[in-house]
Subunit: 345 residues, 2 copies
Amino acid sequence: MHLQCPIPKTDFDVITLGHGSGGQLTSRLLDTFVINQLSNPELEKRLDGAILQLDGNLAFSTDSYVVSPIFFPGGNIGDLAINGTVNDLAMCGALPKYLSLSFIIEEGLPVSEFWEVIQSIKQAASKANISIVTGDTKVVEKGKGDKLFINTSGIGRLHPKAQIDVNRVSAGDVIIVSNKIAHHGMAIMSVREGLIFESNILTDSKPLAHVCMSCLDKFGDSIKLFRDPTRGGVATTLTEIAESCGKGIFIQEKNISLDPSVEGACEMLGLDPLYVANEGVFIVIVDALKANEFLEFLSQKEETSFAFKLGEVTDSYEGKVILESKMKGKRVLTKLIGDQLPRIC
Amino acid sequence: MHLQCPIPKTDFDVITLGHGSGGQLTSRLLDTFVINQLSNPELEKRLDGAILQLDGNLAFSTDSYVVSPIFFPGGNIGDLAINGTVNDLAMCGALPKYLSLSFIIEEGLPVSEFWEVIQSIKQAASKANISIVTGDTKVVEKGKGDKLFINTSGIGRLHPKAQIDVNRVSAGDVIIVSNKIAHHGMAIMSVREGLIFESNILTDSKPLAHVCMSCLDKFGDSIKLFRDPTRGGVATTLTEIAESCGKGIFIQEKNISLDPSVEGACEMLGLDPLYVANEGVFIVIVDALKANEFLEFLSQKEETSFAFKLGEVTDSYEGKVILESKMKGKRVLTKLIGDQLPRIC
């Protein structure tokens, strides 16, 4: 375990039901482990909510995180919960500003694990430049939860040039994926299945807001849509987009950028990387005239250095996603069916 | 069961892990049971977040609800989750406008129960005049959750006259409680313990924003603080206030307004009503000059018809809450210790 701060001394090693009572134990848990770590003036007021001064168009998003296990290669449920909501706001074309943080803890969670999660939250919040301004903590009995669930909700300020709207997607637009895919899902699978892959696959969880905002600075309304292909992967997200806009989407398997270790792991488990979750990748649909310049712009940034053109929007195949395989065969992609990878985020 | 709308026909009776996959089953669950029920333009866009136009000072609040059982006399986890966050915003002095809604469902939850919760959410949202603009749904394996957990986060617009600030609380201010106490906690206990009390005790869960806003309209900055005594009850909330403002709080047991059925149930279970959770009561600290008029104003409204003066802020007893018993004995109240009533909200 890699801890930035030494864990505070307490007279309890595990979290108990009493820590969720709203009384003395709750205060002590929050004082010692949460509020002083994530400190800011709003949080320290300990009110039922935070008062924020904001003007204009705001984005508002929520996600509950139930990933299992809560620690996995490259991250844990804490940074995942921060980055995930930061990215949902970024996908709306908004710069994330304020997050809420709500814990549902299973009785018996070791305090050391809770501390490690808090430290990751602290670092992720700092990296994404957001403040955690309000929160909540509940504890449920052993066997009524699974270590730790986290909800984060967030508010961001819409970028002035953002025109993110699925109805603006039109034939000819280019579909760009911001990085190599399927890392997060395969990182979780590796620990869950106890597999040892050729090389250690890490989650790609990271904040994408900064890069999305710089795309909007430069390309403005040439950007039609941002979406992050988390649960259900790239295939499910593209299918949702095709259904929403009523256009066809044509993609080519040969274009997909995949790390050899991820490709090998997917083959070993019989998983299609197009359906595997990502937590640090976005899909952007951009005006064809700007597509090459956009791709060049992304490839120069660290978070998106493996960006690739996956395909394009077309007037054919109305509302459907067509994949052309490496062998030039074509098939319709569907949304993920069933539960290929439950509790991936 | 009292259902407003007939339950939609589906080919599944229970919710399965696949409904949380983010794929086809998730779409079907949300389309059939959630989005068309809570319909509004933002929700129907099915984006990663909602875009809202808001200006000025906003309140932002979050709460996760893990109440057990999820159905209880007078309500269920659905309306509790709406009213709870609506009230947290009201306690900040804000008019609630937009809520997010996030489910963590345990595999195997009967669709009929989910439907009943959604119907309660719909009614509560309508009653509180808020829109649910964004959401999330996760499913965990059987034994890794407990039927249903709900997070709601909310955004409200600060009332222009609101000056809610614990630092404005000063000696002489009067502490008013808006209604009879301890109903919610005793309603939950009655079903949890399988007790039959003399009369059926119902939760007091209700939205308080409307009444709080009309108090602010009329009394403006004479209102120093609103707080809702949920988990930990009136005693814990007052102790937190005393600690925060550094003043003493003196309250008199003889003033407490308690329904005879609640009083009897508390006696039977050995519970102190001052520590039992409320979900439709607020504590307000008000300038002494306005206290009688304020009490009169509250007592004319349905939601607060049993409002009573509980005590006052004093320069004695720095940071402590002193209860004078009916026998004129005095003792210091503390925050709730341990887990008198776990998972009450």
